[in-house]
């Protein structure tokens, strides 16, 4: 489990990321992704540092971060499982998939299992409509979910 970092630590690691990526065109999103990779989430203390580094206001950075559900405000659990709930997957039975996953994990969307091993989130289209219903586990996409695959996933996140 990623520990929540101390604020000075956050500031210096964030500053290093900004220095590295500042020159990119449209650097804010790449920086936020790197920060999430670095800390496992986007710490609030990183936002003023980013604002200062890119000459933006705190409000602007907050607006962007809060717009994207992918940017987490708290450290992520060991695994993040995202189930696609968009139209194509729904037509291929994602509702049933979701119900089964929730039942097996004992949690609803936006919740984390009591042992902290996995966070379950809905997602609206992974661009994998041809292989509906689909999911993403820790950044890896999985297509054509069926009962077998679901059980495999659940076993993996619990291991």
């Amino acid at each position: 489990m990623t520990m929540q970092a101390a604020s000075t630590e956050i500031a210096s690691r964030t500053a290093a990321i900004i220095d590295e990526m500042k020159g990119l065109e449209g650097p804010l999103l790449p920086i936020l992704h790197s920060i999430q990779e670095e800390f496992g989430y986007v710490p609030k203390d990183a936002l003023p540092v980013i604002a200062d580094g890119l000459n933006l206001s705190r409000a602007e950075v907050h607006g962007v971060v809060s717009f994207y559900h992918d940017f987490r405000a708290k450290p992520a659990r060991r695994h993040v499982l995202k189930l696609c709930q968009a139209e194509a997957c729904q037509s291929m039975g994602s509702d049933a998939v979701a119900a089964k996953v929730k039942q097996l994990l004992g949690i609803d969307f936006h919740e984390t299992t009591r042992d902290g091993s996995v966070t379950l989130e809905p997602v609206y289209c992974l661009g994998l409509c041809a292989c509906s219903p689909s999911a993403m586990l820790d950044g890896e996409v999985i297509g054509r979910l069926d009962d077998e695959k679901i059980e495999e996933i659940v076993a993996e996140v619990h291991s």
């Binding site: 609030k44 000459n55 206001s57 705190r58 409000a59 602007e60 809060s66 717009f67």
Partner: protein, 970 residues
Amino acid sequence: MNIKADFPTLIEEIDYGTPESKATKQVTLTVDGQSITVPEGTSIMRAAMEGGVEIPKLCATDMLDSFGSCRVCLVEIEGRGGTPASCTTPVGEGMVVRTQSERLDAIRRGVMELYVSDHPTGWNEKAGTGASEFDAVAKSVGLVENRYGTEGRNHVKDDGGVAPGHGSLAVDYIARDESNPYFTYDPAQCIVCSRCVRACEEVQGTFALTIEGRGFESRMVAGMHEDFIASECVSCGACVQACPTDALREKTVLEKGMPERSAVTTCAYCGVGCSFKAEVKGDEVIRMMPYKDGKANHGHSCVKGRFAYGYATHKDRILSPMIREKISDPWREVSWEEAIAHTAKEFRRIQYQYGRTAIGGITSSRCTNEETYLVQKLVRQGFRNNNVDTCARVCHSPTGYGLGQTYGTSAGTQDFDSVEYTDVAVIIGANPASAHPVFASRLKKRLRQGAKLIVLDPRRTEMVKSAHVEADYHLPLKPGTNVAVLTALAHVIVTEGLFNEAFIRERCDWAEFQDWASFVALPENSPETVGKLSGVDPEAIRGAARLYAKGGNGAIYYGLGVTEHSQGSTTVMAIANLAMATGNIGRPGVGVNPLRGQNNVQGSCDMGSFPHELPGYRHISGEAVRDIYESLWGVKLDDEPGLRIPNMLDAAVDGSFKGIYIQGEDILQSDPDTKHVAGGLAAMECVVVHDLFLNETANYAHVFLPGSTFLEKDGTFTNAERRINMVRKVLEPKARYADWEATQELARAIGLDWNYTHPSEIMDEIAKTTPSFAGVSFELLDRVGSVQWPCNEKAPLGTPIMHVDGFVRGKGKFIRTEYVATDERTGPRYPLLLTTGRILSQYNVGAQTRRTDNVAWHAEDRLEIHPHDAEVRGVREGDWVRLASRSGETTLRALITDRVSPGVVYTTFHHPDTQANVITTDFSDWATNCPEYKVTAVQVAPSNGPTDWQKDYNEQARQSRRIAPLAAAE
């Protein structure tokens, strides 16, 4: 004559929905059968409004670029499918537009129905004022039902009505934010149209607001979901003005209701001179609304102008004249008649006893042109001497001198609109984001469009780096080295051949240029040499010089960091030289622009407030000029210049100057070397203070005449761009007389035959006697709004840009600017350099702003000190420190920041407790005596609390402010 004495109605400005197009090509279209011709690029919404057809709208307003989010302003266009938004669709030649149809009505009603389903109490009950644009649109689209109810998930109810949030935000309802003293944010009423966010970005340039989240969870928040007061918000109020609902609303409106009538007037704070509608209900100002037709501000304002008018009704205001024998006595309230008669008698006695020149007057840069003119007239015609001076002495007198010498006029060369054409802005010794916020907003807008920026300032100000602002060059020069650095810039321009030879040959004296060029080219003026003494990187000097000379339209804006030095006048000349050498004079986008500190500094200088000048900057020694006034006033004028403020104080200490009439200035707090000022005042026998409050100077006064605020009188102010703006009376003077009337009473009491019945008659006299004002009258100002002097036969509507075809003085004059280090130097005892400035929410000595809720932002003056300097002295954040110079010492709390360089400390002078001017020395500009506020060698040490001087002073102030209780009628 009674011009606009009454104003029965509320001025409603038309909102065209989208900004004006500046295209020259015209396009004709038909809207609802009416043919309308507008510039290309105009939106359909604006075109319709120009034809008098109002299309309902929520997210559009003409201060902001179109956005197209509310879906209320839809129209039908013949030959096109669908119902495009009229705000984002530009007009086309021959286009046929319908703004009304059954389909459109149905869509608009449908959209509004959805809005009200998530709005407090619904459309037909008054959730807020009932007078918002939202309420009006709901009515105009004929909304009669809400089929969706308000029972579902919403942002409104906090007591059981909320369906549990399903997103990352746990709750949908957010409580009201009352943290800002002037306005309320009620998220429940927000419709997420983004007008506030865009106003903060596009108009104000602060970017303090954002839309948080997405979809149903989205809502406006300040900062990172912070209280407004804790966020980056600077409380300019642009968001409140932009909000179409009551989500953002002035507290005064919520408490007292909507205003009933208004008059257009001019802000009495800084030299930007913003136009406002003073909106009144009964006899109370409800709010100040920036006026879109105001040429300086175009509908924008800062926290001071819009909100900080509470001082006008503050309980500290003195409303009755008062007199006392000795300054140790308590004050005695008297009638106006007694106060005026007493003053006249005292002045006459002093002149009889000590001579004609033993009295004088000080005009105010806060009062109107008409009032200032009368005070100098009182001195010249009534006192029969030239002992008149003004507070501009302590701020911009070097501007008058320096620009007068080089160009021939004592004023800035541009209008504020000029900044829209600037490619390279140079800011020297000024922090417009704090002191001239509305101009800063306009400059920032231009910077976001790609203009370059060079800043010369010892501090890393907001203009050097803040959201969406980053100076291309920041030259953090050591205080006191302005001339050296500016001459080094000239060195680069000359030695690298970057000067504009054609311009110089045509407009200036080539031989003088050559002499100047040979001087600046000397090795001692090279960036490498100057870099050592100023602490600025030579490469930065070279880069900045190249950018200014070759970057397109270069405009210089400067403030008191230029003038308040022992070489203030020289610095102004160095600036003038740079603009001439590069040809950056005489067209839009360029020029030399002093940012004036107070509302009427320009005007008070124009009106003959200086001891050597009659109105219009004409020297008192000129016989022809004296003739004009002598024949009109029927007296012989003294042809010798009178005493300047510091000379008056010196003379008082020497015993030859005994009486003074001070209108609207607090010299004890604002002038340098407080102890010397106090000594001078204490030596006088009749000090008359004419002010709103018992200010610090009044502690030494024998007569107090209550002043009137800008809301209580008619007149004019002249802003930094020479613009003469109308000030209109919206309230009756609380203390019976407007200031001009009080001066007139005093003049009559000493035997002058003055019979002005309205300030317009005073302006008529100014126009009659002053060539640059010849065309000015209240009638003209009423008709055209404002004019920039010179306004005369040659320029009947004024002069936005000066020196267009040639310099006023003929040929522009290059003057050598040799750097002479100030005598104020650091040494072992005083190793740090103190420089002073302002912050946004406070104004000048704070007499007004300290008496408003603006203290929420700045409750005390703090000493900014670099972490290194703090550490070696054992000073921690917030510690009390002793600040000592050769002149004196004071204490205040430390603020540790790397905005100041090591070796430099900085403070403001907004609070009398701090008395920063106890520290400043009596060194001053060689030409004009403008004090050297910006450089003082000091030492800083930890301290336990206020110094003895502060304690003694506070006790003395308390004693001298006593007012004897009125004796019961016996």
